[in-house]
């Protein structure tokens, strides 16, 4: 799975960066040539020293030494270019893949989020892409380095003496064997570690976003305890990874030491036999020390590769899950288009649960009708709205808008026709203005903003803030009162021209006077309207009210009639006044 995952990732984000990599590789090749030329020069100087100075060479040697210095200077430029050229694409692909995945995530269906949990998704999103970047920048650099250096040095070493080279490299075979044994374990531990970090991030995120509630309830202790548990797991997995790593990496260093030992012993023997020169031993040692760094990095490369593989597996669902889309397969029969909404025999169960929330639901709503929905807590009111806006998909051929099965429509087109004020308000940590213009096709004029705010009964308060429209409202609208948040979210509705208006218990935090004015404004929008509410004063104004019980339409009719038949609806509602009379 991760093999194709890697290929897909590379195709999407890496291949297009080939000019960078190519340039980087070229610079890296030059860098390596320079660093290998330097020991060559050093070798000839030392050889000459050993053989004694002749006058002719005496002029040559200082020049050679100067050449070494010159090469050192050149190295500075070429090497920094090589690093920049290879690390920049890493940053580029991290950014482009993040943006790409963000786009997909925001278009994934709701049950996807239900399945994974928000915190988990966030951690996959922010941590795991970083691992891939490391592989495609640092990893690539190391691999290229390894290839270049071993090619050059091997060539040079072989030129000197075949068998000495082979025996000097013998420890590397040992290293590869050890790597094969340790790596699978390392991968397992690393994955556990990454998961533990994900869980910790989850807990911390949940705690910090809700810190106000935790403080209010004085339950800091127990949340600290929960975090401590996850933290302990992170520590435990960290330690396991560490143990393997420390057994492994110094071993790499030790093995290069072993190579040098072989050179000394066997090479020394060869010198006594007069087969190679003493300068060759020096050069060999320098070559080995050049090889040492990339060779130790084999371990790091493998570790980085493992981590990026795990990361790929973790972000796999972002790529493979189906986005929300129009479903052609369910071109259900056209229903009567005189009806705005028609629901036929809809039964609905949330994915992954057993209990059905809506049962054999049948409903027709005429164009321009104002429909109220009431019923006990958890009777399925909000679920109805989630289905109408395709936050959750109904079965095919059950829900029709303007005579068309909503499944055949692109979810985004569908939602453009509907204005849905969610029961749970979500505001962004931005200015009032940004919150209100969010999602609009064109930047709204100040007049349009003012008009919407006036309709939502929040204009006076906005104008009362010192910074007015530029007021930062804080995370989740923290700096607004409950009623202000609700009305700001409602103002978004007034910025749109919907065909169908869905209001889910959106008047619960406003006082009765404001509520009455708001309903007047909704009516002015002149569209079909469905209102979920527990308030008699609201329901009273509806043309028709549905009384839901356990996901079924228990009864329906004008509200006064409903009260007559069901006294339990009446209990408290009768104490509230009909707002129309207030406005008189």
């Amino acid at each position: 799975m991760s093999q194709t995952g890697m290929r897909r990732f590379a195709k999407l984000f890496v291949f297009e960066l080939w000019p960078w990599y190519l340039g980087g590789a070229a610079c890296l090749a030059v860098t390596n040539m320079i660093s290998l030329e330097i020991p060559q020069l050093a070798k000839s100087i030392v050889n000459h020293l050993h053989e004694g100075l002749t006058t002719a060479d005496g002029d040559q040697l200082p020049k050679l030494a100067l050449a070494i210095m010159g090469l050192g200077l050149a190295q500075i430029f070429v090497r920094s270019s090589s690093r920049i050229l290879i690390f920049w694409p890493g940053r580029k692909l991290e950014a482009s893949s993040k943006s790409y995945i963000f786009r997909r995530v925001m278009r994934l269906p709701q049950y996807f989020f239900d399945r994974f949990g928000m915190g988990d998704l966030i951690s996959r999103f922010s941590n795991d892409l970083g691992q891939l970047r490391i592989f495609f920048a640092f990893g690539v650099l190391q691999i290229l380095n390894l290839i270049f250096i071993s090619a050059f040095t091997l060539y040079q070493m072989l030129k000197v003496h075949k068998y000495l080279t082979l025996s000097a490299l013998a420890p590397i075979i040992l290293m590869l064997i050890i790597t094969r044994i340790i790596m699978p374990r390392m991968q397992a531990f690393t994955r556990k570690n990454q998961e533990a970090v994900g869980l910790l991030t989850n807990r911390v995120t949940e705690t910090f976003t809700n810190i106000h509630v935790i403080q209010t309830n004085a339950s800091e202790r127990s949340f600290l305890k929960l975090i401590a548990e996850e933290n302990e797991k992170v520590y435990a997995t960290d330690m396991k990874v560490l143990l393997l790593r420390t057994l492994f990496f110094p071993l790499m260093t030790a093995l290069t030491g072993l190579s040098q030992l072989i050179v000394l012993f066997y090479g020394g023997y060869l010198v006594t036999q007069g087969l190679i020169s003493i300068g060759d031993i020096l050069a060999f040692n320098i070559y080995l020390s050049y090889l040492a760094f990339p060779l130790t990095s084999i371990g790091i490369i493998i570790a980085v590769y493992q981590r990026s593989k795990t990361a790929l597996e973790r972000i796999e669902p972002f790529f493979t899950s189906d986005l929300e889309h129009a479903r052609q397969d369910s071109a259900g029969a056209l229903a009567s288009s005189a009806l705005q909404v028609e629901i036929k025999n809809l039964s609905f169960t949330y994915p992954g649960t057993e209990h059905s929330v809506l049962n054999e639901f049948n409903l027709s709503i005429h164009v321009g009708e104002m429909l109220g929905v009431c019923g006990a807590v958890g009777s399925g009111k909000s679920t109805l709205f989630s289905i109408l806006t395709r936050l959750y998909d109904p079965p095919a051929g059950t829900v029709f808008l303007d005579g068309k099965d909503i499944l055949t429509e692109d979810p985004q087109d569908l939602r453009d026709k509907i204005a849905y004020a969610l029961q749970k308000v979500h505001l962004f940590s931005a200015t009032l203005k940004e919150n209100l213009s969010f999602g609009l096709k064109a930047t709204p004029s100040p007049e349009a903003l003012t008009a919407a705010a006036r309709s939502a009964q929040i204009l006076k308060e906005i104008e009362g803030f010192p910074e007015q429209w530029e007021t930062q409202i804080g995370e989740k609208g923290l700096r607004l009162s409950g009623g202000q948040k609700q009305r700001l979210a409602l103002a978004r509705v007034f910025m749109r021209r919907p065909k169908l208006l869905l209001l889910d218990d959106v008047l619960s935090a406003v006082d009765n006077l404001t509520e009455a004015r708001l309903i007047q404004e909704f009516r002015r929008l002149n569209c079909t309207m469905i209102i979920n509410s527990h308030r008699g004063s609201v329901l009273d104004l509806c043309d028709r009210v549905l009384y839901l019980k356990d996901g079924r339409i228990f009864d329906q009719g004008p509200f006064p009639e409903l009260i007559g038949r069901h006294p339990e609806l009446q209990e408290e509602i009768h104490e509230q006044a009909a707002p129309e009379t207030i406005l008189g």
Partner: protein, 588 residues
């Protein structure tokens, strides 16, 4: 968030000292592992000596015996070094991981104790980044960078000493280069630090926004806000990327400079030996050993350069983390909070979230113990703010708030809130079982108390229908239950604590009337003799209270019992009249 401010590299080194309180517990381990460091440098130092001896006296003289001995000695050095290095790494890394673990917990604890005002200003996503990935950075840098650079330094010292023993002329030449090296390090690491700090700020902003969008994904979909959110996301991503690309440049140039200087030094040394006027004649063995030493000298330096980025990462993380530790926006007061009676009194209280715009002005009211008070007023008039002051989430008000005649200022906030139960306007459900969400993990609250509380607020009925009932694992945010059901759970949460003072901020606004009536009656029964503060829009709820305070624009217009206020014919009267105009049987 504070603006990134680069510090000098050496000043940063001093910052490392601040880690000490967290490392203190591991003193023994650290001492032991530092004792191993000189061992490593001695071992490193001995290698060129062995080489020199073996070559000069073994290889060149054809003495096979010396050659074998030299090889053996080399083998022993390699093996011993491996073992020592492994032990040393495990010891220090364990100490680091333990330190990170403890430090993370104490940072989280610190953040959780910071005042609501602080949290109003700071995005939680950014704080999460501090507590998680900044620490990951720190532990990564400490383990792979800082600690091994101590070893590198040891190797370096060994090499320098070795150089002098071998030939002090050459050694001096080599050392001439060092000032340049240090200068380079200082210069570039400053640039590096600056861009890294910037990057940390950017990543925190990016993470915070990601979090916001994912939690509000429904809102984004419903408002067709994809384009807007993508634009902002892309902008933040690119800002982060660009900051990182800058640090890549600083890092690359620094690394290459050191590498280049190493080569130049070797050239310099060689030139010095072979320069036309040179008189000294050095043996080949010395030259080989010498070049080995120069390698030994620059290898750790190069390693250090390679790790400068990591080192800077550690400094940046330390900076970010300690900037929070240095924030002391706590709510003062650590006196006991014994609430026996539950009497509440506000004396001339004024308060402003953002001075000078006042939110509350000159509030005066008192609730005798066991009484109930209804706060009435248009939205935004300051009702919830009164509660936030009373529960000591915000301080900095003028005037005096008294509970049982004791000033609130002196009491410990957490202890106080254990005695007061609040059902806030914004309901939060945590990931965990239904029982956890009601008891919130408090050991004093038993399962029986939890279930009893749930029954009181009519939540038991729907909980029993969930698979596993009280053990049902709710999703984060309570997405798998209805909003009204969430409200009931929050209500049960308050009741289960069996408080002396209970505050309900629109606690039943999303609950159907039938359930509401049952709950109201239960509360009346449950809370006779306890102090109750209610914010509600339902007239029936308001009228039941002993007294009513009418709020407008942060001022109390009038207080008194329902009948009293009606008789007074003030604001409450007109409000009430308006609402009841055509609904006479409501008075029944």
């Amino acid at each position: 968030m504070s603006k990134p401010r680069p510090k000098r590299f050496w000043a940063d080194l001093k910052d490392l000292v601040r880690l000490w309180p967290f490392l203190k517990a591991h003193k023994k381990t650290l001492i032991l592992s530092s004792c191993l460091i000189p061992v490593i440098s001695v071992l490193q130092m001995s290698v060129p000596f062995i080489l020199k001896r073996t070559i000069d006296q073994g290889v060149l003289k054809g003495d096979f015996h010396v050659l074998t001995l030299g090889a053996l000695a080399y083998l022993i050095v390699v093996i011993v070094e491996y073992c020592v290095r492994a032990v040393q790494t495990v010891l220090t890394s364990r100490a680091v991981f333990q330190m990170i673990r403890d430090m993370r917990m104490s940072l989280i604890d610190h953040i959780m104790r910071l005042s609501a005002r602080y949290h109003d200003k700071n995005l939680s996503g950014a704080l999460v980044t501090r507590a998680t990935s900044d620490f990951d950075n720190l532990s990564e840098s400490l383990n792979q960078g800082v600690l091994s650079s101590v070893v590198d330094l040891a190797v370096l010292t060994g090499a320098v000493v070795g150089l002098f023993l071998l030939d002090w002329h050459l050694a001096l030449i080599t050392l001439c280069v060092l000032p340049f090296v240090l200068l380079t390090i200082n210069l570039f690491s400053k640039a590096l630090k600056q861009s890294m700090l910037l990057a940390r700020v950017k990543i925190a902003a990016l993470n915070a926004y990601t979090q916001e969008c994912l939690y509000g994904v429904n809102t984004v979909k419903v408002l067709s806000g994809h384009k807007d959110s993508e634009q902002k996301f892309d902008k933040l991503t690119l800002e982060y990327r660009d900051a990182q690309m800058k640090s890549v440049v600083a890092d690359a140039v620094l690394f290459s400079l050191l590498d280049g200087i190493a080569s130049i030094t070797i050239g310099l040394v060689l030139w010095f030996t072979v320069r036309p006027s040179a008189e000294t004649f050095l043996s080949a063995g010395i030259m080989i050993a010498f070049v080995q030493y120069v390698q030994n000298l620059f290898d750790p330096l190069k390693q250090l350069a390679n790790k400068i980025a990591m080192l800077q990462g550690a400094f940046t993380a330390i900076d970010r983390v300690f900037s929070i530790f240095d924030t002391h926006e706590f709510i003062g007061g650590d006196g006991p909070a014994e609430i026996l009676m539950g009497k509440v009194e506000f004396v001339d209280v004024s308060f402003a979230y953002n001075p000078p715009t006042p939110t509350l002005q000159n509030l005066n009211f008192a609730i005798p113990s066991g009484d109930s008070l209804a706060l009435v007023g248009t939205t935004g008039s300051g009702k919830s703010t009164i509660i936030k002051l009373l529960s000591k989430l915000y301080t900095g008000y003028e005037g005096e708030i008294l509970i049982d005649d004791q000033p609130l200022n002196a009491m410990d906030g957490v202890a106080l809130r254990r005695k007061i139960a609040i059902v806030p306007q914004d309901i939060v459900i945590f990931k965990g079982s239904v029982s956890f969400n009601i008891g919130l993990g408090e050991p004093e609250i038993t399962q029986a108390m939890i279930e009893e509380a749930a029954k009181y607020v009519e939540a038991d009925r729907f909980i029993q229908k969930l698979p596993g009932a009280y053990n049902y694992q709710l999703r984060e945010g309570g997405d798998d239950i209805s909003v009204g059901q969430r409200q009931l759970i929050a209500f049960a949460r308050a009741i289960a604590r069996n408080p002396k003072i209970i505050i309900l901020d629109e606690a039943t606004s999303s609950v159907d009337p039938a359930s509401d009536a049952i709950i109201q009656k239960a509360i009346e029964k449950l809370f006779t003799g306890r102090t109750l503060i209610v914010i509600a829009h339902r007239l029936s709820t308001i009228r039941r209270c002993d007294s009513i305070a009418v709020l407008e624009k942060g001022r109390i217009l009038e207080t008194g019992a329902h009948d009293e206020l009606i008789r007074k014919q003030g604001k409450y009267y007109s409000l009430h009249e308006k609402l009841l105009h055509d609904d006479p049987d409501a008075l029944a």
